[in-house]
Amino acid sequence: MLRLLEGSMAVAETVGRCRPDVIAAYPISPQTHIVEALSRAVRAGELGDCELLNVESEFAAMSACIGAAAVGARPYTATASQGLLYMSEALFNAAGLGLPIVMTVANRAIGAPINIWNDHSDALSQRDSGWIQLFAESIQEAVDLHVQAYRLAETLSLPVMVCMDGFVLTHAHEPVEVPDADAVDAFLPRVAPAQVLDPDAPQTIGAMVGPDAFTEVRYLMHHKQMAALDAIPHIAGEFAAAFGRDSGGLVRGYRLDGAETVVVAMGSVMGAIEEVVDELRDGGVPVGALALRCFRPTPTAELREALAPARRVVVVEKAMSPGTGGIVGADVRRALDGCDTRVHDVIAGLGGRPITKASLRTLLARAREDRLGALSFLDLDRDRVAAELARAGTPTAPGGHAAQALAAAGLWEEDA
């Protein structure tokens, strides 16, 4: 049954139906509504024996989840931005120990400068933590992904991060269907954990491993991620069969047939992109879009299959790696290794800046005219940057790296 719900409420209700045993979280915008709602539910006794820990930090939150998972309990936490970074050490540990933990990340920028609005800097900064990272395009998908995430985490003994755009999805009200409680129960049977702290069968979890075995342990972690590439679509399929909705999976193509230009992106921006694609298609322009729903592990083969036929790929991403450029773009390039397809990184929507359809139209127009560099910044205020560079006298030797970067970013385009 569709209900008009705020994204956070919908997620909280769904997480509740996944019957977590332990919820440990620390408040941070824009995740707070989720935890507040769950706190009300726990207090109201709606979640049975679920324990809610008001921890003193995100680091403690993830650590408590590690402890809970280690005794076979089903943990949940949610965070964002600085909070995700603050729990970073524990993130790597949870993945290294192979503990099934599900966490919502209400994606938000990372300071300095401090910024509470949406982009993907937080989640992407943890791409090497060993967590599975799923990105939701809509509130409905965010909801559905949590159910799949628990199934995935417990099947593979891996922690799973469900990423949903902060505010854009967490604070928006939309008609959404919260998965039926019984169906969720059926979808999430309790499975015996691969390792558990049990006095009847004591184990030592978290040994110190030296050079003699560390590489192997790491390889096995990689192998698990590769296995996830098979499990994720499989579970998405089972979910579709059980709940009648297509959500999750690795990638989702949109009007790719014969598309010369394909826009790749993650999260809630897909809607705007699709609308622009529709406009252009209606005008006979061969463009398509591809939603990357699973960022880690990287569905390299799927990306290649979907993008190889295109002439160019425009990767619109809400994060960047200063000094390099696109992050998703780099993955896409690896996937297209050896193909003629050109890949353009477009850094957009940082710190909550809207990615308007107008901007997307211009972007795609320039792409089709092959006026798009390898790396560009959507809606960058050239004058402001130029003025600041001039004021600060940042050395930009003609022909030097900085100068070329400026050119690549189209900062001198008008003058050119």
């Binding site: 290294g96 120990l97 192979g98 954990p193 691969a194 979890i205 978290g206 040994a207 075995a213 192997e216």
Partner: protein
């Protein structure tokens, strides 16, 4: 449950596959070190060993452990001047353990309960003559009989016990106690001939009835020091005085008695005089208190009984009841010299307690026996120059105490047994002296604070009027308490420190009854030395590993 992930998760207790013993440069060893009390005991007792049983309330076992060395615990517990307590490590903590009191408690308990010694070993067919039924002779006889030899004691007196009976007043050693312990020895099958003085040992041995002889005739003769005395003066000697008291017809001493001498006997006499009615008993001694040979507690008890002492004084002459006392002084070299200052005191009687001598007439015709300065020379195992003839007790002119005599009897008996058995060396040179558990080898921290329990004393009035025993015994509780004050120096008392404090859990508890309560698991012991350091009794030693 599915297989846990590789390397990250391990099986419990799997580290036992890692033998850390290889890290060791020193290894701990359980050892037995000799407790100072035992090494100090002239009778050859090992108080630590029998206190160990007493601590557990195993009184009979404790008593039997004493009896292995000394057949007269009840006597010992009364007349011994307990050098063991002088050596006791506990004295450095609070006060020495009252070993002597516990021994007396055990001895009395044995008499009361009628415990009997372990039966003798099978008869050897050998026959040994023992001359003298004093502590030396009785001790020798006891050990010889238990070794399976036939023993025949000859003693000149009508009753056995020698100086224990005729030299030690009954207020120190009640006769029923003495009789009980002697009777227990004789009951083992010793043939006693009392009133049978041996004048010629050579002749007696020539009869061929004996395969060996032990002579412990003691020092029965008073040493007379000449004191010019008028006819009216009453001058007696200590030996005959004490003896006459024992025989029941004490001489009339009068109200004032002067005793000459500074040995235990002098004080015995003075105290006896008090009990015989003397109001003033004065001990006159030529040296300082420090140089006095009598044991401190003897002097103390005498003083408690109003005996007075004139130090640095000699009796110049006696005339009737007037005794001229000359004061002595020390010269530059600290030698005594008369001052000529004469002081007079009144005494109805003067008793000379200036030492005793041995009557060695029975050895005069005995070839090979060497006598020098009135004492018999002996070699290993106390055998005289005459093969088959041993001597012990006062006749050796060494420490002249009951305790020493008992020790001689034991040592000689062991030698005789070896000699008769044809063992070589027949005198088992007493086992290689074990390292002594000195105080600094102990870890006294672990011992509770527990002051020495005092024995009750007879009240003053009865002490100066009767011959009742002055020093009382301990009741069971206090005896147990006193026994448990023993630090068990050098011998494991199973306190579990080594077991509990080993960081590597490398100590194994063994079933009770073995040589040691624990063993080291050298597969894991890293040789840190904590066990040795924390052993309260110094029963663990670290020894270098050969690498």
């Amino acid at each position: 449950m599915p297989e846990p992930p590789f390397a990250i998760t391990l099986k419990p207790g799997s580290s036992r596959a890692n033998h850390t013993g290889s890290w060791r440069t020193e290894r701990p060893e359980y050892v037995r070190r000799a407790a100072p009390c035992g090494t100090a005991c002239p009778a050859g007792e090992d108080p630590q060993a029998w206190l160990y049983h007493a601590e557990e309330g195993g009184y009979e076992a404790a008593w039997r452990r004493i009896m292995a060395d000394n057949p007269l615990p009840a006597v010992m517990g009364r007349v011994c001047y307990h050098p063991c307590q002088g050596a006791c490590n506990r004295a450095q903590l609070d006060e020495a353990v009252g070993i002597n009191a516990v021994e007396r408690f055990l001895g009395d308990a044995a008499i009361e309960a009628g415990w009997t010694p372990d039966p003798p070993r099978p008869a050897t067919g050998k026959r040994v003559l023992v001359v003298g039924a004093g502590p030396a002779g009785l001790s020798a006889a006891y050990h010889l009989v238990r070794a399976g030899h036939a023993v025949e004691i000859h003693d000149a007196e009508e009753r056995p016990g020698g100086m224990m009976r005729y030299g030690i007043p009954r207020y120190r050693l009640p006769r029923e106690v003495l009789d009980a312990e002697i009777e227990r020895i004789l009951a083992l099958g010793v043939e006693v001939h009392l009133g049978s003085r041996v004048d010629d040992l050579e002749a007696l041995m020539a009869e061929g009835r004996f395969d060996a002889a032990f002579v412990g005739v003691g020092a029965q003769l008073a040493r007379r020091t000449y004191i010019p005395a008028g006819s009216a003066a009453r001058v007696l000697d200590a030996v005959s005085l004490l003896r006459s008291v024992e025989d029941g017809d004490p001489p009339l001493l009068g109200r004032r008695v002067a005793v000459v001498g500074g040995g235990d006997t002098a004080f015995d006499v003075a105290r006896t005089a008090r009990r015989l009615g003397a109001t003033d008993a004065i001990v006159v001694y030529r040296r300082t208190r420090e140089r006095m040979p009598a044991h401190e507690e003897e002097a103390e008890q005498a003083v408690e009984e109003d005996v007075t002492v004139r130090w640095m004084s000699t009796i110049d002459h006696v005339d009737g009841d007037r005794v001229a006392v000359e004061r002595m002084e020390l010269d530059e070299e600290g030698r005594l010299r008369p001052t000529g200052e004469i002081e007079e005191l009144r005494a109805d009687a003067v008793v000379l307690a200036t030492g005793q001598e041995c009557d060695l007439g029975l050895l005069e015709r005995m070839r090979g026996v060497e006598v020098a300065e009135g004492h018999v020379r002996v070699g290993a195992g106390l055998m005289t120059g005459r093969p088959g003839v041993w001597c012990g007790g006062d006749v050796l002119g060494r420490e002249q105490t009951v305790t020493a005599a008992i020790g001689h009897g034991r040592e000689a008996a062991a030698a005789i047994d070896g000699w008769l058995a044809g063992r070589h060396p027949w005198a088992s040179a007493s086992a290689p002296a074990a390292e002594i558990a000195d105080f600094d080898l102990l870890n006294p921290w672990y011992f509770g604070d527990a002051p020495h329990a005092v024995r009750p004393r007879l009240d003053h009035a009865r002490r100066v009027s009767t011959f009742d025993e002055v020093v009382g015994g301990l009741d069971a509780d206090i005896a147990l308490y006193e026994a448990r004050r023993c630090l068990s120096c050098g011998s494991c008392l199973a306190c579990d420190n080594c077991y509990g404090l080993c960081p590597d859990a490398a100590v194994i508890k063994l079933e009770p009854g073995g040589a040691y309560a624990y063993a080291f698991d050298l597969d894991y012991c890293k040789g840190c030395g904590i066990c040795a350091r924390e052993c309260p009794v110094g029963a663990i030693r670290m020894v270098p590993e050969e690498i």
